[in-house]
């Protein structure tokens, strides 16, 4: 009897100890699982965030690239129409050569710039005009007039002695004026101002 009691007591003590150990083991295991789970969650959320950030960046990059492409296309189109406008201007300027203003401008340039020995290069249409202006400039010896149909209007003056050319052609003048007023022309063409 007493042996049975003793056995009972011993086994219940062992049982309690076992239960304690098991409970501790269970807690530790749960905490290890929790730990591993949070670490995995953290890793996963960092990875997710990285992926999201990278995707966001890719989207931003695409957006920015499209923006820039649009901008470029926009400017290309405007430049195309500006170039067309300039070509049309060159065509229309032909009417200007028939005016008295043009003759006066030619005369002013020649009076100011011509000296002895100069070669005056102009379009074949203007040769007569230039010759008549030069006749009025008395005392200009050795001035030669050379036709060149590459020049639409105005003159180029070649000073042979110093190998210098001064360009008063209409193309150069128009180019300078058009370039410096390109913004205004663009405003008129595209913004209706």
């Amino acid at each position: 009897m007493e042996l049975a009691k003793l056995l009972d007591q011993a086994s219940s003590k062992v049982k309690v100890k076992l239960e304690e150990d098991l409970s501790r083991a269970k807690e530790e295991a749960l905490s290890l699982i929790d730990d591993a789970y949070s670490k995995a969650m953290e890793r996963a959320s960092i990875k997710t965030k990285e992926l999201v950030d990278r995707s966001k960046e890719r989207v931003e990059g695409e957006k920015a690239r499209l923006d820039v492409d649009n901008k470029r296309a926009f400017i290309d189109t405007r430049n195309f129409w500006l170039d067309r406008t300039y070509s049309r201007l060159l065509e229309l300027v032909a009417d200007y050569f028939k005016t008295a203003e043009y003759e006066e401008a030619l005369a002013n340039i020649l009076k100011r710039e011509v000296s002895e020995g100069v070669e005056v290069i102009c379009s074949s249409r203007d040769v007569e005009k230039v010759n008549s202006i030069l006749k009025e400039l008395k005392g200009m010896k050795g001035v030669k007039v050379t036709p060149n149909d590459k020049i639409k209007g105005g003159v180029q003056l070649y000073y042979k002695e110093i190998s210098m050319m001064k360009d008063f052609s209409i193309e150069l003048l128009l180019k300078q004026i058009f370039e410096s007023n390109k913004e205004k022309v663009a405003q008129i063409l595209f913004e209706g101002e």
């Binding site: 950030d53 990278r54 960046e57 890719r58 931003e60 990059g61 695409e62 957006k63 920015a64 690239r65 923006d67 820039v68 901008k71 470029r72 400017i75 290309d76 405007r78 430049n79 195309f80 500006l82 110093i162 190998s163 210098m164 050319m165 001064k166 360009d167 008063f168 150069l172 300078q176 004026i177 410096s180 390109k182 913004e183 663009a186």
Partner: protein, 462 residues
């Protein structure tokens, strides 16, 4: 309107990039010229010497193929000007302001002389606003302020390009993000570097707010020297006419100085230190001084010139003279790079002279100054102890000293080191600072106030 164009066909000699034109009596110094060769090809140049009866022209694209007979030189009657406008943002240009990204020239804009005008010293405002670059080693310990010039001293093989691109992408003025733009001047870079910058800005979406000016390594020296001037001309227009905050990044100023040396040698000028021209200091100053804030103007120009120190020698004329002009320096360190740390910024040799006026309560965060002081002094001690540990071994050090060694490692790996695409806010930077400081015992944190320790370090721990 421009003066009449004068054209001469009297080229008497050609020597290197220089051409002598006879018969010219009215050429202005720095007047731009156009050279038309016998085959119709056109090149451009500048008048670098004007005398009665002759002018010496430096041809941008070099003189190979140009013969004295058959070439015509046109003097255009104006200096080198570029058209600048906001339309340049998002585009790529050469140093003459011509687009090289396949698009058309800009339409709107103003023509400006690329040499600019010096800022009236009495009209300058003192820099005080913080610029967040997203790089902890800069924001935390070497802060960049709006209107400051803070160079990066790199070395051959160090990731200065990567760092420059990251700063260009991430830099911003807090609260004024929409008004912040970057003008990027790439001087004498290799083709693969040019591709890298272009791809980086396009892929990261930064291209929209960046105007890129590029000259390649194989281009003539004169063209390279024009690059920063053209970029800064646009920067000045955007800052002082359009009220934008402009960050001008110039990379690599060493290539600029080498080009200057080449040009000086070809002009047979008397060389200065290490063959560089004696006027290099003044020349660099004319570039670096195109920075700042102006009274009455909302915009500003901040400059980050980047240069490679030949042989990692900080006493070389280029970094030496740059250091005299600029307001501090960020130094990249090879030993940090070899440890795999990016960006390899050595905070002990780096300095931002104006930082103290742009950080702290009301500007960045109240604890910024204290954290900076503590991190700096603790890291300095840690580096010193590394030397000692190499002699006596770690076992010969005290417990506290060993903590400093741990701190130094943690500082390098967590605070200094960050990802190429990692953009840290200032708060994140300071919090990381507190985290690494927590490696040290509290009694060692003698440079920070107790209230900040309680609020930021202990708060972060809990």
């Amino acid at each position: 309107m421009q003066a009449s164009i004068r054209e001469f066909s009297s080229v008497s000699s050609i020597k290197g990039p220089l051409m002598v034109v006879q018969g010219v009596t009215d050429a202005s110094y720095n007047e731009i010229v156009e050279v038309e060769m016998s085959n119709g090809e056109k090149r451009r140049g500048l008048v670098v010497d004007s005398q009665l009866g002759l002018a010496i022209v430096q041809v941008f694209e070099g003189t190979s193929g140009i013969s004295p007979g058959g070439s015509r030189v046109r003097f255009l009657g104006r200096g080198l000007e570029v058209k600048v406008s906001e339309e340049m943002l998002g585009r790529i240009f050469n140093p003459l302001g011509e687009p090289i990204d396949g698009g058309s020239p800009i339409i709107k804009g103003e023509r400006r002389d690329i040499n600019g005008e010096p800022l009236n010293p009495a009209a300058r405002e003192y820099p005080e606003e913080f610029i967040q670059t997203g790089i902890s080693a800069i924001d935390g310990l070497n802060a960049l302020l709006r209107g400051q010039k803070l160079p990066i001293f790199s070395g051959s093989g160090l990731p200065a390009n990567q760092l420059a691109a990251q700063i260009a992408k991430q830099a911003t003025v807090r609260g004024e993000e929409s008004n912040f733009v970057v003008v990027f001047a790439a001087i004498g870079i290799r083709y693969d570097e040019a591709l890298f910058f272009r791809k980086f800005f396009e892929e990261t979406g930064a291209i929209n707010r960046v105007a890129l000016f590029m000259s390649l390594a194989n281009e003539p020296s004169v063209v390279k020297t024009l690059t920063p001037k053209t970029a800064l001309t646009l920067a000045e227009y955007l800052a002082f006419e359009q009220d934008l905050h402009v960050l001008a990044i110039l990379i690599d100023m060493t290539n600029y100085c080498e080009a200057l040396r080449e040009i000086s040698a070809s002009k047979e000028e008397v060389p200065g230190r290490q063959g560089y021209p004696g006027y290099m200091y003044t020349d660099l100053a004319t570039i670096y001084e195109r920075t700042g804030k102006v009274k009455g103007k909302k915009g500003s120009i901040t400059q980050m010139p980047i240069l490679s120190m030949p042989n990692d020698d900080i006493t070389h004329p280029i970094p030496d003279l740059t250091g005299y002009i600029t307001e501090g320096q960020i130094v990249l360190d090879r030993s940090l790079y070899n440890k795999g740390i990016y960006p390899p910024i050595n905070v002990l040799t780096s300095l931002s002279r104006l930082m103290k006026d742009g950080i702290g309560a009301g500007k960045t965060r109240e604890d910024h100054k204290d954290v900076y002081n503590q991190l700096y002094s603790s890291y300095a001690r840690g580096v010193e102890l590394r030397g000692l540990a190499a002699i006596v071994g770690e076992e010969g050090l005290s417990e506290t000293d060993r903590k400093y060694l741990l701190f130094a490692d943690a500082f390098e790996r967590e605070f200094i080191s960050q990802g190429v695409n990692e953009n840290r806010t200032l708060e994140q930077t300071l919090d990381i600072g507190w985290k690494v400081l927590s490696v040290l015992p509290e009694r060692e944190l003698t440079n920070v106030r107790q209230e900040y320790i309680d609020k930021y370090m202990k708060g972060a721990k809990s």
